[in-house]
């Protein structure tokens, strides 16, 4: 049993009148990949966005319940959301590099957080982050070219490099491969295998095979409820809830 990194306790989320999450309680283990699966609109993205408080951006979004990271309540009044997001990085569905150079994309986070004191430090962070994101070799000769000029898979790895540039503990990935071809997807999955030695990764995915390949635990969401969370192996071979089984075997109505 690994130690627990994130713990959600009776989480309820509302968008205005509409309730998006119902009493979700689950934990995520440190330096492991946890996958969240479920049909569209089931609340898995809402859940993952609660973990770095990206939902704060939405005015009508209300969060009740508790999420603890390393035992600290991230919705506590004295929690600075910017500081939280420095610790909890995020990679999005569609690669969204800034319309700036590759270097600037990665350097932005450390720069605003004042992590690098000198230019050489910053360069080192950029290179290390790109290396960790398995992108450095492909872009080392064109660090000052536009990040938007890269291929989709490279852009997504650039976004991963951007996320790890501020040295987070946790990386949230919201369907990171949904816009990528199978080869680029395989690269990112391989990368996740490397990254989990240092980071706790939570991935939302629509691909059951992907969840099965990359994660050690999997949670199944349906209609805003966490139906089942278990070892990935169990979820995909012998889930205990009928809804989970129906979903993963392609019977969902």
């Amino acid at each position: 049993m690994k130690s627990i990194k994130i713990k959600a306790d009776n989480l309820n989320v509302y968008y205005g009148e509409k309730q998006a999450l119902f009493d979700v309680s689950m934990y995520m283990e440190e330096k492991q990949v946890t996958a969240l699966i479920g049909p569209s609109g089931c609340g898995k993205s809402t859940f993952i966005r609660c973990l770095n408080r990206m939902n704060d951006v939405i005015d009508i979004c209300k969060v009740q319940g508790k999420i603890e990271i390393d035992g600290n309540d991230i919705y506590a009044p004295d929690m600075q959301v910017e500081q939280l997001r420095e610790r909890v990085g995020m990679v999005f569905q569609k690669p969204n590099p800034f319309p700036k150079s590759i270097f600037e994309n990665v350097a932005y986070g450390p720069r605003i957080h004042g992590i690098a004191e000198h230019k050489s430090d910053l360069e080192e962070i950029v290179v290390t982050s790109l290396k960790k994101a398995a992108l450095f070799d492909e872009v080392k000769d064109r660090l000052y070219d536009a990040g938007t000029g890269l291929s989709g898979g490279q852009q997504q790895r650039l976004c991963i490099a951007r996320a790890i540039s501020v040295n987070p503990d946790i990386i949230l990935m919201d369907e990171p491969c949904s816009a990528l071809d199978p080869i680029a997807t395989a690269r990112i999955e391989e990368l996740m295998g490397d990254l989990k030695t240092e980071y706790t990764i939570i991935i939302v995915t629509h691909s059951m095979q992907q969840a099965a390949r990359v994660s050690s635990r999997t949670g199944f969401f349906h209609l805003g409820k966490l139906v089942e969370v278990d070892k990935t192996e169990t979820i995909f071979s012998n889930p205990s809830d009928q809804r989970t089984q129906d979903y993963i075997t392609g019977r969902f109505g």
Binding site: M208, Q209, S237, T249, R251, G253
Partner: protein, 230 residues
Amino acid sequence: MSEHIVSSYDEQLDLINSTLIKMGGLVETQLHNSLVALGDKDTAFAEEILRDDNKIDALEKEIDALTYKVIAMRQPLANDLRTVLSALSIANDLERMGDHATNIAKRVANVKINMPDTPVSEIVNMGENVQRMIKNVLDAFVQKSDTLAINAWDLDGDIDELYLSIYRDLLKTMAEDPDTITGCSHLLSIAKNIERIGDYVQNIAEDIHFITTGQALERKSEKRIKWEKV
């Protein structure tokens, strides 16, 4: 069980199931025919049914191909995965059962020798019990019923008991009248064949249990335990 969103997936799984049931039916008939041939000592009929074994073998190959295709195309998960994997092993078991039933017919056909009547009727009786087990386990498979499967599994205890008693009887007959040794040893083999078929039925019951529950059946009848001590 609700249907898959992709109906052709359902069709493929249904085809595997129906082929298995068809194969099970053939095996049941094969055993039945062998028992009839044995009871009537009808060598001609026995010759006839030998050929039916080919049909069973052909169906096994068909199921192999179907499961292979489903795994390659659909990447089945959870109960679908268990169904497909179990189909392979059930088909294999059924093929072995078919071989054993055919073996009975083969002995009846080839061995034109004297067989004592009493043990023959006992063996036919035992065979009919096994035939019932096959029927039960096929019902369990059709209905995907764990309960029926376990019931079928439990019946094997009686078979083992019958086998034990036939075994003793045959040993006794051979000791009393050495002329019957050749016939009795054939009957011994036939009884063994039937007993083995019962074991395969247990395997199938275990597969059905795995399909429906996802767990391996961990169960040993007390009688089996007794038998192991012998």
